[in-house]
């Protein structure tokens, strides 16, 4: 699959690296015991440390460290036994200390890799440079008062993991797949809630273009994107912008950009003169972070099954395609639901593809219509399993099953009970179907004549009429056979 982009003069290759900022799932902040709950009253979750009162000192939250280590393991990365927290110095109203505690030269997690899957079944590794821990800043609220800016420090000090990729990504689509994959891994590990709308996961995108085979071009960084859609839009816009500049003889200015979601354009965030010198240095309030190998090994053993592992299992054990398996495993909740369905009945193992279809088409559309996520699905996975089994055993037709599913969704009932109560059981009794067919043929003598004189298409008409008479319960296969044989007998 070629990712090259046609300009007016050349073909161009896009080179992208991502810095993903993922909020660590933890009840308290990275260096204080304040709550991290989202959406609380402004400044209600601020400790003396978070507000940088004189003489206040940071204390590492061990749980956040464990979460970062777990994430590192999930990214197939090297966990560093020794890492250092540094201060990144700059002034901003919502940065109470006047510095952010981050990790610079010695991050907690080193090189790793994740793989992304394409529709055609192929996949590609994206290398991870590092993962480091840092504190989030507060929030400046500019829209509360015409002349003043308010500061909310609830987010100040919340733990973030910054996951930095190598520039291995070659298109907006790959960037989308990569961030989905990272999100999926974090959610499987339960180290980040993955909620992009609330800002729990956001990304800075580094982009450059080059002619294939050339060295890397000069890159621009688009800051703070919080949806996959915007990331793709921003990349596509920025790539076009850079190509146009280069093809008209211009030079790319290395810059930090913001993406305007309403215009769909990027624009510089600050000029060169304002470029920061962050004066990183080891935070003297904190000792170097040392993690012994035993603790890391213990955590390796406690890592839950990750999407790639499940995917492999789905391909091997359930015979699903690589792509189907990757779609299914992308969201842990969906994958968990699928597992529950399959586990509800031994025989379903061989009907995995049908189960996938029922989940990803019918169930998803019902959930979407009602704005419910799969964790709260009113349809018990066990009942969905039963439904699939009923179809497989010809007890009901696929068409009726769709109605039954809606009823299951509304009443949370067992499909067998619904079928029984509504008398929806498929008619497989050949004599009963024969009677219906006889009636239909008798009532439509003209049509039968036409059919016999060569209008084969009318078979569909007879099927429809017979099905109608059976109230949709006739087994379509048997009905077809009987119709065909009766009609040929009339010949």
């Amino acid at each position: 699959m070629s990712n090259l982009i046609k300009g007016n003069k050349h073909e161009w290759e896009t080179v992208i690296g991502l810095e993903i900022h993922a909020q660590v799932k933890s009840n308290s902040k990275l260096f204080s015991n304040s709550s991290t709950a989202f959406g609380s009253r402004p400044n209600s979750q601020v400790s003396l440390v978070d507000a940088a009162m004189p003489g206040m000192l940071p204390v590492i939250n061990k749980y956040c460290i464990e979460q970062a280590v777990k994430t590192g393991i999930g990214l197939n990365a090297k966990i560093n036994n020794y890492s250092i927290f540094d201060r990144k110095n700059y002034f901003y109203a919502d940065l109470p200390q006047g510095y952010q505690i981050s990790q610079y030269k010695y991050p907690i997690v080193g090189e790793g890799k994740v793989s992304i899957d394409f529709k055609d079944g192929s996949s590609k590794d994206i290398r991870i440079v590092r993962l480091h821990l840092e504190q989030d800043a507060g929030k400046s609220l500019h829209d509360q008062n015409p002349t003043k800016t308010y500061v909310d420090l609830n987010r100040s000090g919340v733990a973030l993991m910054e996951i930095v990729s190598e520039p291995d990504i070659r298109s907006a689509d790959e960037a989308g797949l990569y961030i989905s994959k990272i999100r999926s891994i974090l959610m499987y590990l339960d180290t980040c809630d993955g909620n992009m709308q609330e800002g729990s996961l956001r990304a800075d995108v580094n982009i450059s273009v080059r002619k294939p085979g050339d060295d890397y071009g000069i890159r621009c960084e688009i800051k703070n994107l919080n949806s996959i859609k915007f990331i793709k839009q921003a990349i596509n816009y920025e790539v076009r912008r850079q190509i146009e500049i280069l093809e008209t003889g211009g030079v790319i200015e290395q810059n930090t950009l913001l993406f305007n979601t309403s215009t769909g354009k990027t624009k510089p965030m600050r000029s060169k003169e304002e470029a920061h010198d962050y004066r990183y240095f080891p935070d003297p309030d904190l000792l170097p972070l040392e993690i012994n190998q035993k603790d890391i090994d213990k955590m390796v053993n406690s890592i839950p099954e990750l999407p790639d592992e499940r995917k492999r299992k789905y391909v091997v054990v359930y015979n699903l395609s690589n792509y189907d398996a990757s779609v299914l495993t992308a969201d842990k909740s969906v994958s968990d639901y699928f597992d529950s369905v399959i586990k509800s009945d031994q025989s379903l193992k061989n009907s995995a593809k049908i189960v996938v279809n029922w989940i990803t088409s019918e169930l998803f559309s019902l959930l979407k219509e009602n704005n419910i996520d799969i964790d709260n699905s009113p349809i018990n996975p066990k009942y969905l399993g039963k439904l699939v089994k009923l179809i497989k055993e010809n007890i009901i037709s696929g068409k009726i099953a769709k109605d039954v599913l809606i009823e299951m969704f509304n009443s949370k009932q067992d499909p067998e009970i619904i079928i029984k109560n509504k008398g929806l059981k498929q008619v497989t009794d050949t004599s009963e179907i024969e009677n219906i067919v006889d009636e239909v043929l008798k009532e439509n003598k003209k049509m039968v004549e036409q059919y016999l004189s060569g209008k084969d298409k009318l078979l569909g008409f007879f099927v429809g009429q017979s099905m109608k008479k059976s109230k949709g319960k006739a087994n379509p296969k048997i009905l077809n056979e009987i119709l065909k044989s009766k009609l040929s007998n009339k010949n």
Binding site: A52, M53, P54, L57, V59, Q97, D277, Y280
Partner: protein
């Protein structure tokens, strides 16, 4: 009325010969009489009387019940404002009590006020304070002398008998040098012995709380009260705190005392070298063995210190930005202007100088040449001590290169001022404990201090040696 020691006053209190209220009244009167020395930034009679009622309720076994203590105004205190000697915190009222002062409160001590200091503890003469100079109580008429710094107010408070003990902080000598200038005992324990929680930070990797007192035993009582682990300070040590005062032992038989040749400097007065000599002779007489040692990297200590301390300070003081608390400049038109005006009006000259130095040495392109190199040299200096302590039990040096100097001397020459720390800074960089005790006088009758340096967390050793030397002047 003058009380000689903590235990003397405690006995009087226990025998009902004096009441907590009378102690308060006595010290209120003394402080009022010495107001011209500008020792206190904050002094409020009502605040002392409020404490009287609380202290009276306490049982007699509280180690410091009713003992008047002055607190350096760098320690955040709930009931008294905290300024760090700066305009930028002029009206700052902490809602929290520092670890050290809380421990003193727990033992029943009575805070008489908050003492003056160099702004954010940056200085050696208590002359960079926004609240004016403190005058050394030992000044002769007409020639006001500096009390040393930065904990000059706390040293002066003990020297002027305005309390029986006081807290200080020592980053490069800020307890030991003023102790020497004011003729009192000052101890800077090992880095990490007392929690820094609630002390406005100057240089985090060097800042260490300690105490001033009239004698070594009182210093040991106060130190055991304020030492101890605090989980809110990641650099706070978990070592068990010995009962220094009960373990006091003047026996120096067989002890080996290191005399570092690098502490013999050109331009140091004969009087200081004489005091040093006398102390060496005395220790020898008491049965100790003298060993000439070398601390090879001593000469790099001062420049190293004046890179590391300002670097950390430039970052530590970034929080004073006018946004959240403290002083904010008026009539500003933008966020940047608010920072610029707030910080240029709120900080004094010396603080700004150090912020600039610190910002410079951490800048891209200079970091490796200055900060990183300084950290390497710091390690060498610390190793010098660690190696030396394999051969000796403690080290004896002068505390300061001079006696107290006139107030307006060295005002305009920062380098000269920085040289005050030449004997104290190496121990700060190494994180080892040091104690200064008065040991003789110069020709003008001004006290000169002698410094004992010990192994990490071996405060007892230097306290004992100081206790033995102190007897020479009883």
């Amino acid at each position: 009325m003058e009380f000689k020691s903590i235990n003397q006053l405690k006995s009087l209190l226990e025998e009902n010969k004096i009441s907590v209220k009378e102690i308060a009244e006595t010290y209120i009167r003394k402080i009022n009489e010495k107001k011209d020395l500008n020792i206190f930034i904050y002094f409020d009679e009502d605040k002392i009387n409020e404490q009287v009622k609380e202290i009276e309720k306490l049982p007699n076994n509280k180690k410091l019940k009713g003992i008047p203590i002055a607190v350096k105004d760098l320690f955040c205190t709930k009931k008294m404002p905290t300024t760090a000697g700066s305009k930028i915190l002029e009206n700052f009222h902490p809602t929290y009590e520092s670890f050290v002062t809380q421990k003193l409160i727990n033992e029943g001590s009575m805070f008489v006020g908050k003492t003056n200091l160099d702004e954010f503890a940056m200085g050696s003469a208590t002359n960079t304070s926004y609240f004016g100079n403190t005058i050394n109580p030992l000044s002769k008429k007409g020639v006001p002398l500096a009390p040393g710094g930065s904990s000059g107010g706390s040293a002066a408070a003990v020297a002027a008998d305005l309390c029986l003990g006081s807290t200080g902080t020592d980053t490069g000598g800020s307890i030991r040098q003023p102790a020497s200038f004011c003729g009192v005992v000052g101890i800077k324990p090992t880095y990490g012995l007392c929690s820094r929680w609630g002390i406005a930070a100057f240089a985090s990797s060097l800042d260490q709380a300690g105490v001033f007192s009239k004698n070594v035993k009182d210093a040991s009582i106060l130190l055991e009260a304020i030492a101890g682990h605090d989980e809110r300070d990641s650099t706070s040590s978990k070592v068990e705190i010995p009962n220094y005062s009960q373990n006091l032992n003047p026996d120096l038989n067989g002890k080996i005392i290191g005399i570092p040749k690098e502490y013999t400097l050109d331009g140091i007065s004969d009087e200081i070298n004489m005091v040093w000599e006398n102390a060496i002779n005395s220790l020898e007489k008491k049965g100790a063995k003298i060993k000439n040692i070398s601390l090879a990297h001593t000469k790099y200590a001062l420049p190293t210190y004046y890179i590391i301390a300002p670097a950390e300070a430039s970052s530590n003081l970034a929080r004073y930005d006018g946004v959240k608390y403290g002083f904010r400049s008026k009539d500003v038109n933008s966020l940047d202007e608010m920072y610029e005006l707030t910080r240029s009006e709120g900080f004094g000259k010396e603080v700004k100088r150090r912020i600039l130095i610190g910002t410079y040495v951490l800048s891209a392109g200079y970091y490796d040449a200055y900060y990183l190199k300084a950290q390497k040299v710091r390690k060498l200096i610390a190793n010098d001590f660690i190696e030396t302590f394999k051969e000796c039990d403690f080290i004896l040096t002068p505390t300061a290169p001079s006696a107290a100097f006139p107030l307006n001397e060295k005002q305009d020459d920062p380098i000269k001022m920085y040289l005050n720390d030449v004997f104290t800074v190496p121990a700060s960089l190494a994180g080892i404990p040091g104690i200064s005790i008065p040991y003789g006088k110069d020709k003008n009758g001004l006290p000169l201090g002698i410094q004992l340096l010990g192994k990490h967390f071996n405060e007892q050793e230097i306290i004992n040696a100081a206790f033995a030397l102190e007897k020479d002047y009883e």
